[in-house]
Amino acid sequence: MIEILPDKCDFCGCCVGVCPEDAIELKEANIKIIEELCTNCNKCVWSCPIEVLKFNRNGVKVENK
């Protein structure tokens, strides 16, 4: 499961730009993963310039603000 650490996020949209599934929603200073669309491909995690997205093997998800 892909997890976003919203307190670290800069809301730059790099992850949205590489997501093949349109599974990330960014609205000014608010970001969330649309879980029904996410395939856990990890491309957003690799592309995040500041390590805000993590792939969490334990399936723990940090709640978005």
Binding site: D10, C12, G13, C14, C15, V16, G17, V18, C19, P20, D22, E25, L26, K27, E28, K43, W46, S47, C48, P49, I50, E51
Partner: protein
């Protein structure tokens, strides 16, 4: 604000503002929507442009110029530095003010502007895009338009909703991070580029002076690199080594789609411009000037389509863009792919060869010769840049 416009532009960056302005100049009704509170903020950009790239659209105004740039410095992995005089004058902008000025020019041409307006979906009439669903101050509403122009940046989703493939392969997305730091004592008329495995593999690091020893220092690395080590870690290491005590005034992240323009940037009732269309120079990662060109062409064509009462005319934009810059970007992309895989040894040997040339003879042509001597397979691509119309 009305419930219906001829053209709605989503996003008020440079390409959105140019689209809105050039459309409005055709005498049609235009509404430009910006999701953030302010036009021009936050700035996610190194802010470098060439003079030729912007004077087509706006007269140079000191209010949005930080510094004038005359030299280009290339720093090889072994730290040898090559200084080149720039063929054209360049500027480091104050994007906040620059973007404002561009939006103002759209307003002057007759476009309406609404900030804090988040477009969350499109409306359709059959298969045609016929407007947007937008949230303004917490209130959701539908606004109709004959043509929607999506200038919603690297994070564009409007194109996807219209059925266009807009995401960028993660290997071609440069993950960028930049600080604006003070106490950076570099020449204020020189832009610096660092290359190499250690500093910014499959990308480069830039130092762009903003006057009074303030500078934008940033880098981009491809997603392939980010898989192992993030852009942020690379930047922190660089700052630690070069400017450990420099106060950081701002830090921003951003994605730079260093790739060719999307295959399709038009569909019925919808046009994409700027970063949303991937109208970036894939070699430099610069997108201000090319985005403005894309926006202006789209605005003109959209305005004409309304005037002609022939909405199928908007497909002309795709052709006009490809002839103006799209084809050239394909060649730049090939050159980029060559350079990004240069080894440190190759960068070092190129620097060494250039340093043998006296500075007054270091023209771009000579540099290319040297770079090509080191990597002949690039010759074909470079030849294309110079010989194509």
């Amino acid at each position: 604000m009305k419930n219906q416009y001829d053209i709605i532009v989503v996003g008020a960056g440079p390409s959105g503002s140019m689209a809105a302005r050039f459309a409005a100049e055709k005498g049609v009704s235009v509404l430009m929507l910006e999701k953030d509170r302010d036009v021009g903020y936050p700035v996610r950009c190194g802010e470098a442009v060439s003079e030729a790239g912007i004077t087509e659209f706006i007269e140079i105004d000191k209010r949005w110029i930080s510094t004038e740039i005359n030299n280009f410095s290339f720093i090889a992995p072994d730290k040898s530095e090559v200084i080149l005089p720039l063929p054209d004058r360049g500027y480091i902008l104050e994007r906040k003010i620059f973007d404002y000025a561009l939006a103002e020019s759209a307003a002057k041409a007759g476009a309406e502007i609404q900030t804090r307006a988040y477009v969350y979906d499109l409306i359709f009439d059959g298969n045609n895009v016929s407007g947007v669903k937008v949230e303004i101050g917490g209130e959701q509403k539908e606004i109709k338009a004959k043509i929607v122009i999506a200038a919603d940046g690297v994070e564009s989703r409007v194109g996807r909703w219209g059925g266009l493939k807009t995401y960028t392969d993660f290997r071609e997305m440069e993950s960028g991070v930049q600080v604006t730091a003070s106490n950076i004592p570099v020449n204020q008329n020189t832009i610096y580029f660092y290359f190499g495995e250690k500093v910014a593999p499959e990308g480069y690091l830039w130092v762009f002076p903003k006057g009074n020893n303030l500078a934008n220092i940033g880098l981009g690395v491809s997603g392939m690199i980010g898989k192992k080590k993030s852009a942020l870690v690379y930047l922190n290491e660089f700052m630690e080594e070069h400017y450990p005590d420099a106060p950081i005034l701002t830090r921003v992240a951003g994605g730079i789609p260093c790739t060719v323009t999307l295959d399709r940037i038009v569909t019925d009732g919808l046009m994409l411009v700027g970063d949303a269309a991937r109208q970036i120079n894939p070699l430099s990662g610069g997108g201000i000037a090319s985005g403005m060109i894309g926006g202006s062409i789209a605005g003109k064509v959209a305005g004409e389509a309304i005037k002609k009462n022939d909405l199928s005319y908007i497909y002309q934009y795709e052709k006009d863009w490809n002839n103006r810059l799209g084809k050239r970007h394909k060649t730049f992309d090939n050159i980029k792919n060559g350079i990004f895989h240069f080894s440190d040894d190759k960068f070092n040997s190129i620097a060494k060869s250039i340093l043998k040339v006296p500075i007054e003879k270091r023209t771009l042509g000579n540099i290319f010769k040297i770079a090509l001597f080191n990597n002949p397979s690039l010759l074909l691509d470079v030849a294309k840049v110079f010989f194509q119309k």
